[in-house]
Symmetry: C2
Subunit: 272 residues, 2 copies
């Protein structure tokens, strides 16, 4: 029997209702031990203030969301993305985050060159890897669901992310979100291959029907993903880390976090 691991609130889950300061206070009050902030909310509060408040509240920081998004139409755009990622690594270090979550980014506007965009992702990781290693911050490569390939992530499968990890080695790892990988017929084989490389484990659920390609993720237990089954595969691959709840959902954004957080705690215990 697998165990879900300590609970982490990814702050996007309550993004329309709470500032980062409210998230920090709310996690502490509701007994949620970990937090995973987004960079815009950190900037809003101020990096050093955010780091101090999180530390004072006794929370750990699983990851900083998010870096990556390297593909761009021209060299200036690609250089700007690399600089932005270097700042994300610095921020993660200040926050004491275990990783920066790296997503692929989509095709540059007007482009149909998927292989080219994937090469830009590869080259972007190569460019920031020295800074990540120096900072002791893992680049947690997160494959996103193939339905986001055109406009959000050309990093589409666990196999593809593991190929990058194997090439780049130290300083890279995997952010595994059950939402993005649950459908994959190759998942058991790839999870075995992921041994020692899983840096973050994210949960939510796949609703039937799903009415939006980005903002209709379900609360754990409300959908069809066998979350404990995937958790067990992660544990078999040596992962015993936290369970991070990341809901991008118009339905849940409309609710009061004071009711959402207790529900997350219940579902973390019952459905993860």
């Amino acid at each position: 029997m697998s165990a879900p691991g300590p609970l982490v609130l990814n702050t996007v889950t309550v993004r329309d209702r709470w500032t980062l300061a409210q998230c920090i206070e709310g996690c502490a009050r509701h007994g949620i031990p970990g937090i995973s902030p987004w960079r815009d909310k950190v900037a809003e509060l101020g990096l050093t203030v955010a780091a101090r408040q999180i530390r004072d509240a006794g929370l750990f920081v699983s990851g900083l969301c998010r870096g990556g998004m390297f593909p761009a139409a021209d060299a200036a755009g690609r250089a700007a993305a690399i600089e932005e990622n270097r700042r994300a690594i610095e921020e993660a270090q200040v926050l004491g985050a275990q990783c920066v979550v790296i997503i692929g980014g989509g095709l540059p506007p007007g482009s149909k060159d998927l292989a080219g965009a994937r090469a830009m992702l590869h080259d972007g990781i190569a460019a920031i890897l020295p800074e990540a290693r120096a900072a002791g911050v893992t680049l947690a490569l997160e494959p996103l669901h193939p339905m986001t390939c055109a406009d959000r992530s050309v990093l589409s499968t666990l196999a593809q992310a593991l190929d990058l990890c194997e090439e780049f080695g130290a300083g890279t790892g995997i952010a595994l979100d059950v939402y993005h990988v649950w459908w994959d017929p190759d998942l058991p084989r790839q999870m075995a291959r992921a041994s020692g490389r899983i840096a973050a484990f994210h949960v939510c659920d796949w609703l039937v029907p799903t009415t939006d390609l980005v903002f209709d993720r379900g609360m754990m237990g409300d959908g069809v993903i066998d979350i404990p089954g995937i958790r067990a595969m992660a544990e078999a691959a040596g992962f015993t880390g936290p369970c991070e709840v990341e809901l991008l959902s118009r339905r849940w954004w409309a609710e009061d976090p004071e009711t959402v957080l207790p529900l997350i705690k219940r579902r973390h215990a019952e459905a993860c």
Copy 2:
């Protein structure tokens, strides 16, 4: 340089406007040499009438849509699905169709057992394969986009479909729709593996943004799929067959087929 192959109208493209009789007459009049009907429209017209009208119009039948959908909550449901597929094979034979397009079907209602549903798909194919071979009708396994995994198709990747083809051999093949596979990082390798197994090649396009998980497919050239690139891979794998246009799209269903068909002909020439 690849060639798009003879044009086929999959009748779902105009499903809200035209009966099968209108599709047959329209294809002949617009100079579209092939047709791929859906079973409900065949039943509406009557199987023998449909077969005669298609033959009299001088059209070829690329495939019959569709079979598969084997997973079910109980044994009676699974047996009924197998019987339905046997009827589809008989109809395909009467129509002179080169294949029956087989989709996976989704998870049975309430189930989270993805491996179990995939086993039902496997067993369903095994059950109908003798009839398919006897009829000379290829079971064209069509992987559908992973976003349809929960409710439409547990057959999610070309690799998974090819594994089934390799196991079952004669009588099985692949229906390759660019919409379902364009995102796959493993596509070049799997397309090489598909050599001699491609039974049907379907086109449409991936729109940015995509607003619906099922009914927002784009007209070829309006999206981000490198259709000629995938066609070239299919040709390198030995496929020289037709190019079937299958648009499930509320936007195009709202248009008069008398304007949609000429546009399809232009885009077939320019963007495939």
